[in-house]
């Protein structure tokens, strides 16, 4: 079988980069419209999810200080930022599983590039994450969270997290469209991952012989490269290396999945 899409396409790296940028721009606009519609449905829009984060943050801080000890005021920054970052990771994984299934109507009836469905999902989550960051600034205002030059180091961490969002959503969207039970499995594991990852407990408190739970947990490193600088600590280089490694492996995986499943997508979505 040969498919020749003869439409003249420029080749070369700069042209490829240009295509990626336009496709990012288009999906950002689509996600933006989704957020606008969310605001129209309820006046505070995605802030509803922020309220959700606040409730989780208060509840878990209370429980955590009771079990592990420590002052509520010193814990709340750590736990709050942990939950904000976790909620972004959680959404990337959970919504990634349905990114194609939700858009099945478009996929089978229009020739829009499928990257846009991935981009739409990632940007929507990024915009919601931006809303949650309001809580961070409230924390800074109340002097619960320190503010310094180190805080700026969180920016590369946030960018790295959402860059990873693209491969996470791509891989899960394809696999979960083809194998519908994977979505349920992923959702179950996600719940477990929340407890296993040091989001609301401190990783230094873990028993030495269980250290591997933290050491081999990739999600933990992505949380640390955002949370640590915001709390005034410079994350060790090791954390960045793990995150960068995960990025490379992830995109390689996305490339393989894309190559294998792209053509068949309209059949099983």
């Amino acid at each position: 079988m040969t498919l020749i899409t003869a439409t003249t396409r420029e080749s070369g790296l700069s042209a490829a980069a240009g295509r990626v940028l336009t496709s990012l721009h288009k999906s950002l606009l689509w996600a933006w419209l989704d957020v606008i519609c969310q605001y129209r449905r309820s006046r505070i829009g995605p802030l509803w999810e922020t309220i959700n984060v606040v409730v989780m943050m208060l509840g878990l801080t209370l429980v955590s200080s009771a079990i592990f000890g420590g002052e509520v005021t010193s814990l709340i920054g750590y736990i709050g930022l942990g939950i904000i970052t976790w909620s972004a990771i959680n959404s990337l994984i959970a919504e990634g599983t349905t990114a194609f299934v939700r858009n099945a109507g478009f996929i089978t009836s229009s020739n829009i590039e499928i990257d846009l469905y991935v981009g739409r999902t990632v940007f929507k989550i990024a915009i919601t994450f931006g809303h949650h960051l309001i809580l961070y600034f409230i924390g800074v205002g109340l002097m619960i969270i320190p503010l310094g030059w180190t805080s700026l180091l969180a920016i590369p961490g946030i960018i790295l997290l959402f860059v990873n969002g693209f491969w996470i959503v791509t891989v899960l969207a394809f696999i979960c469209a083809r194998f519908r039970d994977v979505e349920l499995i992923v959702r179950n594991l996600l719940q477990l991952a929340f407890f296993v990852t040091p989001v609301f407990w401190n990783h230094q408190n873990i028993a030495g012989n269980r250290r591997f739970i933290v050491d081999y947990n990739v999600i933990f490193y992505f949380i640390e490269i955002i949370r640590a600088p915001l709390l005034g600590r410079i994350p060790p280089l090791h954390d960045y290396l793990v995150a960068a490694g995960a990025t490379i492996v992830g995109f390689a995986l996305a490339f393989i999945v894309y190559r294998r499943m792209r053509r068949q997508l309209a059949f099983f979505v």
Partner: protein, 250 residues
């Protein structure tokens, strides 16, 4: 140069049953077996042979309607040309910018208003930004939707959706326009306007493929017909001749 060239194309569509759509497969009751001339089964996956050894050459100015019974392969052919379905074997060459109008609507977000959907479509389809105002005026005029354009497209009737979708699809005059049924929802007045718009279009030498059960619409918009039956090409050429043969098939 705009063309569509399909040579000996076969499209086999796998039908995944609930079993095949699972990664973890527990033993279950035997599944119903189906076997017809178009459906075969291998393991858990049934294969539907939707297009068989199809040959088709379209060049500039060809306005073709696809006719045939339900399940004859009309939509599959449109999806093949749009690049939504891959061919199992054979060769396909498509040159030109394609706009596929295969669903009822092309609204990218049904909670958003008509105007917002127009703007988003413009961005996604790379319409030149400088002419945006002109495009919007043109769509307002063509669709006659008036203040409905300021309402979420969710509340539109099927006919209104068809108007907007058709306006969006033809706005930038794609080189190849693929239409499936949907615009049949429009009323007589709309069909007249659609015809006028398509005429404009063809003067610019483009290709149209339209699948419809409405003879009127086919006659109004097309100059040739392709009759399909059970995934095979039965006749390609004059519209009247095609409809006669179609009638004979029934």
């Amino acid at each position: 140069m705009t063309y569509v060239r399909i040579k000996d194309a076969n499209v086999e569509i796998p039908i995944y049953n609930s079993h095949a759509l699972r990664l973890i497969r527990l033993p279950s009751f035997r599944l119903a077996m189906v076997g017809t001339s178009t459906v075969s089964q291998s393991g858990n996956v049934m294969m539907m042979h939707a297009l068989k050894n199809l040959n088709l050459e379209l060049s500039e100015g060809d306005r073709v309607c696809l006719i045939g019974h339900n399940g004859a392969g009309k939509t599959t052919l449109l999806r093949l040309v749009a690049g939504i379905y891959p061919a199992t074997s054979g060769a396909i060459a498509v040159e030109g910018k394609v706009f596929a109008l295969l669903g009822n609507g092309t609204a990218l977000n049904n909670d958003a208003t008509g105007y917002e959907n127009i703007k988003l479509t413009a961005n996604i389809r790379d319409w030149p930004r400088a002419r945006m105002a002109e495009y919007i005026r043109d769509i307002e005029e063509f669709t006659e939707l008036g203040e409905y354009l300021s309402l979420p497209t969710r509340v539109y009737s099927a006919g209104m959706q068809a108007r907007l979708a058709f306006a969006l699809a033809t706005m930038q005059s794609p080189d190849i326009l693929l239409i499936d049924e949907g615009i049949g929802a429009g009323d007589a007045d709309f069909q007249e306007k659609a015809q006028a718009r398509v005429q404009q279009f063809v003067s610019r030498a483009e290709i149209i493929l339209l699948a419809s059960h409405s003879e009127e619409l086919c006659r109004a918009l097309c100059s040739k017909a392709l009759l399909l039956s059970k995934g095979e090409r039965v006749y390609f050429g004059d519209i009247e001749e095609a409809f006669e043969r179609y009638a004979a098939l029934r």
